[in-house]
């Protein structure tokens, strides 16, 4: 532990910690794992052409995500969800059912919410895509994000980015004033923990502030 004190401060995200765990192997003890973590490369979007030689049948696609234009080579079978997570390392968008039934993968395309698991990346060349990473940032949260914190609108958190993306889009949709109206328009987002009452409260709070 003495060596740890001499090291620069460690800013581990859950993801980089888990990634380094994988790299170090499950048999590693705590010490080596932490040591590996300190030197681990931060997760960053893959270079645009780094995978083009290795994917057979890949086709070029230029996507605009969170205001940034990215030129990629993707297998045409790649869903927008897999492209965001695996190719761009934007892992805030979650994969739940992968069949449009749970809403964990909800993102905005041209300001409208969609299930990113049921659309192909190559179909979105001229679109403006927004993920949870582009909605708000630490210190500058989107009102829906701040309200989810305030109202404790989650338990395990896995469905949360999808819930928040859905709720942020709902603010611009035609929706009646009641809790029942919100529940109806949020029914495409499943929360297995059952945080629904707090999710509805968080959304209603934002709507009433607006």
């Amino acid at each position: 532990m003495a060596s740890q004190k001499k090291s620069p401060p460690v800013h581990l995200s859950r993801r980089s910690f888990l990634s380094s765990l994988g790299a170090a192997g499950v048999v590693a003890t705590a010490g080596p794992v932490l040591a590996t973590a300190q030197t681990a490369t931060p997760v960053a979007p893959m270079a645009a052409n780094s995978t083009s030689e290795t994917i057979q049948g890949a086709i070029p696609v230029s996507l605009r995500v969170n205001g940034k234009q990215l030129d990629l080579q993707v297998d045409p079978r790649t869903t927008l969800l897999d492209c965001l997570r695996e190719t761009m390392s934007l892992t805030g968008t979650k994969k739940g059912c992968d069949h449009g039934q749970c809403g964990a993968c909800t993102v905005h395309v041209n300001g409208r919410r969609i299930n990113s698991c049921l659309t192909l990346a190559v179909m979105h060349e001229e679109d403006e895509i927004t993920t949870i990473e582009g909605l708000g940032q630490p210190g500058n949260l989107h009102p829906v994000q701040a309200s989810f914190v305030k109202h404790d609108g989650y338990q395990c958190g896995y469905c949360t980015s999808g819930q928040i993306m859905s709720a942020a889009a709902l603010l611009k949709e035609k929706c009646g004033p009641s809790d029942a109206d919100v529940k109806e328009l949020m029914s495409g987002n499943i929360c297995r923990c059952g945080a629904y009452p707090n999710i509805v409260a968080a959304i209603q709070d934002v709507r009433q502030q607006a």
């Binding site: 969609i114 049921l118 659309t119 495409g188 987002n189």
Partner: protein, 325 residues
């Protein structure tokens, strides 16, 4: 998912040209097709992305009809001012289908071609005459609680899952189709096929034919329109039974009435039997019950779905009550 070649169609003629090639599929919203491709139920070798085709407008025609482009998204159609005010049964049906996200993706043409939710159709390990003709029907002896009681055959009892199609049936929509041989129009009554011994054929579309638009007749003046959907949970669930009613009542009697059912038929189910009972008669509950009896007269239940017969009758009776209140 199996590999395919992907092309973006620049225009309708190019789309049709691509669509006539073997194993080609048109991709619009993707909510059915991509779902089934992941399950290996659909295995297109060519995908033709039609999302950039200029088929995304809703327009009122000079003769009073409403023309809905095949690529108009379900959410946009549901909230279109003319649809909300003049064809509200369609708006109601769309908003009771799927989720807000799926409605933003799904298109008018795609919803017409929505495939059944029969679990045996969706599971490539199981026998299914619709997916694999001649392999048998697993549902008849299996889990059939949600499946059809009208229009079934010994080869298939799969339900058409769409809400939109039920409303379009009550509104007597016309489907506009373009193919290599030219353009044609088919009334919705003639568009969907019952399974018979060829359940793999669900519509009259020929390979390569593209739905370009749906037209609705001029709105029925003074009509009241209801879409009533009964399901296992309050939202985001397919119908066990639904009813679309368009009715004009004058002096307490039906001047005009259209009744279509969802969740119970192998195709969107127009009930001419119910309409015959209702037409010209005094609109009261006793008559509604007679109409419901007539509508379900030929129903053939399976081992788990006999409950759908009384459920559908109550659905029709209540929808008629609401439409004449």
């Amino acid at each position: 998912m199996e590999m395919f070649t992907y092309t973006k169609a620049a225009g309708v003629p190019q789309a049709i040209e691509g669509g006539t090639q073997a194993q080609a599929k048109f991709m619009a919203g993707g909510t059915t097709l991509l779902d089934l491709m992941k399950l290996n139920v659909e295995r297109p070798s060519r995908l033709i992305d039609i999302n950039r085709l200029p088929l995304d407008q809703v327009e009122k025609l000079p003769d009073g009809r409403l023309k809905i482009g095949a690529l108009v998204r379900n959410s946009d159609l549901a909230h279109h001012p003319t649809v909300e005010s003049e064809y509200s049964v369609l708006s109601q049906a769309l908003l009771q289908g799927a989720s807000a996200q799926l409605r933003n993706m799904a298109t008018t043409g795609g919803n017409l071609l929505q495939r059944t939710r029969c679990m045996y159709f969706r599971n490539e390990a199981m026998a299914c005459n619709k997916r694999s003709p001649g392999s048998g029907c697993s549902a008849i002896e299996g889990e059939n609680r949600t499946l059809a009681i009208l229009g079934t055959s010994k080869d298939c009892i799969a339900t058409n899952p769409s809400d939109m199609n039920v409303a379009l049936t009550a509104l007597e929509a016309t489907i506009h189709i373009q193919g290599a041989k030219g353009e044609r129009e088919v009334s919705i009554a003639n568009f969907f096929l019952v399974p018979g011994n060829t359940p793999q054929h669900e519509t009259v579309l020929e390979p390569g034919e593209l739905i370009t638009a749906v037209t609705l007749p001029a709105p029925k003046a003074g009509s009241k329109q209801i879409y009533l959907k009964l399901r296992d949970r309050a939202s985001y669930e397919f119908a066990l039974s639904s009813a679309a009613v368009v009715a004009v009542v004058n002096g307490g009697k039906f001047d005009y009435v259209r009744v279509a059912l969802g969740g119970v038929g192998t195709r969107p189910w127009r009930s001419l039997e119910a309409e015959r009972v209702l037409h010209g008669k005094a609109a009261d509950e006793k008559l509604f019950r007679q109409a419901a009896e007539a509508a379900l007269h030929g129903a053939q239940p399976q081992s788990q779905n006999a409950f759908k017969i009384p459920l559908a009758k109550r659905c029709i009776t209540h929808a008629l009550t609401l439409a004449t209140a």
